[in-house]
Amino acid sequence: MTATRNQETDTSSMFEVADMEAAVEFCYQQNWTDGLPVVPPTRSAVDRILDYLGRDPGEVIGVIPPGNGMATIEKVAINCTMAGCKPEYVPIVIAAIEAILEERFNLNGVQTTTHSCAPLCMVSGPAVKALGFNTREGSFGHGCRASASIGRAIRLVLWNIGGGYPGEPCKTTLGHPGYYSFCVAEDQDSNPWEALHVERGFRPEDTVVTLSGVTAPLTIASTAGYGPMEDVFYVLADAISVLGSNLLTGGDAVLVLSPMAAKNMSGAGYSKQAVKAEIVRLATRSVRDVKRRRTIAESNPMHWNKIVDAANNDARVPYLRDPQNLVLLTSGGKGSGAGFCAVCLGWGGLGGHTVSRRVQFPGSLHA
């Protein structure tokens, strides 16, 4: 197969291939894909997104580590095309990229660490319904174009613009399926409390992306359908306070509550803050246990010995140092009495800290 380098646009080179089949193969040859086929980024498809956005294609959103490629509006639009995004999804991708470029997220570290954390994009606000996100059965997974293609577009930006290739330079030991696409939306209809973005200081009418650098979801049978809430909290906290978790160094965890779990917690009189406080209180391990996990140097400021007496084997080491370190999201199907929930553990104090950004739509969704 041959491809001809064609005219240069303002910011992007153009290549000519024979047909659609050749285009898909060409993208593989150029290492432009995450391993799955991509939608060929033709001029017309990319222009549809650029026309919708109405922004300067050369506008730089940021520099994506570790390769330090410049993420212009056009480059993001190209990658969104390849991921299968509709034009109206793209502002969400742009906001997500802006968010993870905040220094506290430490994107260079998230991209290159031997850990297996990936940016999880949590969408909340009116666009969840307007753009057709699936917030019910399988909300983390397959079957919904909005979450699948937005999550994948973020990955393709990290891949193609950031040069985030496994091996060199990215050293993630295992990765996880969320490295393909990792996006979930909040079900405000089932959420008995304030929306995630409202809790984080945004207006209810805003659509906001909140991102954390986290591991794959671990399903928890919380027994929220029939268990007393004290036991449900104990089970949820137990899933967080595992010895292999980097949370011993600080940092965030995302806990996704199924609607039933959230409803029963609320029905038992727990506010969102009370739920968080209870889980933070319970997500601990004894010093005796934690000493078996040699995380970081004892001299390191993040070491748990800075907050707990390391000489007292019975003292409890908290996995979440503050309720703000626990992100609570309501999403998923009704489920069964098992009250399935999921937790995604963060990279620890090292980075991937939770960041939020308001989505700016060019049209009617949000001015």
Partner: protein, 94 residues
Amino acid sequence: MSIQLLDPTGRVEKGRSTPERRIGVLEGKRVGYIFNQHVSAIAFWKGLEQALEGKLSPLSLHRIYKANTWAPAPKADVEQLLEQTDFAVVGVGA
């Protein structure tokens, strides 16, 4: 009919850099250390510092031990180190 594809990769801005002046000898100079404090390198780094200091008799020492192994040292700290040292030894990785 042929298809034209746009390149999705990002342009990398090449920063200009000028070669630093070569140091003729390392002995008796102002030495800087930037160490990531990775747990697996603590003992090695301590030994390295001792060996360097024994061999080079530095005029002065300036240390940056990063609080977060996995994030860059604060820019201001690095700039200060550049001003106060003739050369620096940087410990990265694990």
